[in-house]
Symmetry: C2
Subunit: 350 residues, 2 copies
């Protein structure tokens, strides 16, 4: 599986990793403390119903009924299980986007259709979305979208859900990066699920909270019957005791949340503005903690090779519908790292 970020394991340890999108504040102190105090939790099975974690998520998202909440081994497990549980004719995937939607369709032997729907400037081509709606299907929208960083308005998403509903179809909204958007929580469609129960929202605890190694994803399934089917598909105990512990800690860590949001806002703006000044590349406006760039002359692979000599690792997406060999993605990191990236990129491109 070489189409993911995080292939840092192949490289030496001094490399600055811009290939995966990780909160530079690292593991929340609150989780570390809780972990030290609870090392014996690993000697027990997690609660197979994950009641307390789902309670904590319900509180974080202001949801009244925890029966709509599912937890899983990262957002990906929930993506796979929703694709498996939804008894649809096809999966519709607006591209370019996260590769796991397609893989989830393949692994589950579901037909899928990719639509190139995000334009070069990151904006969504709504016509192509609407034209491609079919009955009894599941459309997957990543919001903000990975790798373009595009944020879609909740009102736009709910009208789309309405149109899908008329065709007895579902809308899966992957909000794994939503806390990084400037106007969060106003940007989330979670509060819209009561009116639009054909929406399923997927979130990841681990991206925003700097703990991708922990693997805690969660979903809010508007439709009760679908929620039950998704749970039926889950493998037991797929969320381990560490992720369970994290679920009880991180959502209430208001300090971590606040400082992460301040950081991303400031550094994303800084990095975007600096990258815009570099002549050899175009950069797409983003509401996530990464930026998509398109080189004008060198291929992304050439840039990657040259940056590696300067101990910087970027992400060159391969085999993504809607991306060219000139596209690459960089994470937003702390100021010092961001400056090193800008300097190195200038040297490579100028």
């Amino acid at each position: 599986m070489n189409y993911h970020g995080g292939d840092i394991y192949k490289y030496d340890k001094e490399i600055i990793d811009f290939s995966s999108n990780i909160n530079p504040f690292g593991v929340p102190q609150s989780l570390k403390v809780s972990l030290m105090d609870n090392l014996e939790v690993f000697s027990r099975y997690p609660d197979i119903s994950y009641k307390k974690v789902r309670d904590a998520i319900a509180k974080y998202l202001c949801i009244g009924d925890i029966n709509h909440i599912v937890v899983g081994n990262g957002a990906v497990e929930i993506i796979y299980k929703v694709v498996s549980a939804s008894n649809v004719n096809e999966i519709i995937i607006p591209c370019p986007t996260f590769s796991e939607y397609k893989r989830a369709a393949k692994v589950n032997n579901k037909p899928y259709k990719e639509i190139v729907a995000f334009r070069e400037d990151g904006s969504l081509n709504l016509n192509s979305i609407y034209e491609n709606i079919t009955s009894n299907s599941l459309m997957v929208l990543c919001n903000p979208n990975n790798p373009t960083g595009t944020l879609l308005d909740p009102a736009l998403i709910t009208s789309l859900a309405q149109r899908l509903k008329e065709k007895e179809s579902w809308l899966l909204v992957d909000e794994s990066f939503i806390e990084f958007s400037q106007q969060y929580p106003l940007t989330s469609v979670v509060p819209k699920l009561i009116q639009h129960p054909n929406i399923i929202v997927i979130r990841a605890a681990t991206k925003f909270f700097g703990i991708p190694g922990v693997r805690l994803g969660y979903g809010v399934v508007g439709d009760s019957r679908l929620a039950a089917s998704v749970k039926e598909k889950m493998e037991p105990w797929s969320v381990n005791s560490l992720a369970e512990l994290a679920g009880l800690q991180v959502f209430k860590d208001k300090q971590y949340i606040a400082k992460s949001r301040l950081w991303v806002e400031e550094e994303r703006k800084y990095l975007f503005n600096q990258l815009k000044l570099i002549k050899g590349v175009a950069v797409v406006p983003s509401e996530a903690n990464f930026l998509l760039l398109k080189s004008k002359k060198l291929t992304a692979f050439q840039i990657k090779e040259n940056l590696l000599k300067k101990k910087i690792l970027i992400r060159v997406p391969q085999g993504f519908t809607g991306l060219t060999k000139y596209h690459f993605r960089v994470a937003v990191k702390d100021r010092e790292a961001n400056q090193q990236l800008i300097k190195a990129l200038k040297e490579v491109l100028m």
Copy 2:
């Protein structure tokens, strides 16, 4: 999902839990120390190929080629993915046994056949096994078997594999409890996979090493093509960084391994002999860290209710093919707990 052990979460904290089979030594000290030193690993994705962990497993099992090794979120994830990847006509399940084999077949929409093959005394009825072999099928044998504790001889397993091979069928051997068997490692079929590549062995790091909350399962797939297909089915990063860290630590913790084996041998013998003296129950000889009992008069549910009043929780299997309402299972625990169980059970039954 109420058919699993570990439903301790429903009860108060003073209860002694005999319902799930957990090594009483708890989390290995070596893992705790390593964890304290490596809290920042959670801020990175695990290595998506899990190379180092698979290297450690290869060393532990004396396997030359790590391409045959897969890791997963507990043994269950590997069971699910093997059932999904093996392109067979049916799954054959000798019963009574672990409920997840049947569930894996159901979730993957594979036809399955349950055979009552373990007798009341725990012995295997080989005739019924051989009679039920069909072509292009996957048979699942748990060894030692959960919940009977029956250990099958490697020679018997390899002849069965040979017969299955003649029908182009597979044999999945679940060795999740194998380290608890007295003659381990002689009891494992892992060294037989070179001669019998239609065998798949599944193991759990977490049962023997007292860390069921960590979720680290692994498998050895004799056939290279099947190994690749199983990997194709895996969801990315399903083993989190804690489980990854555990995989690098526990297999080399020779002290923990030695003391756990001494404990289980002594306490299993003690508990078995004491339970045999109780007139109201029959107890099945076991090579695992649990014992299956059959009550002669009270139902298992009645016994459970009465023991709960004495703050002891046992496991009453429900809906298991081949078990009656008189069957229940208890874990082997430390001496003090075992004595409390014996005392309480005597009071309830006499």
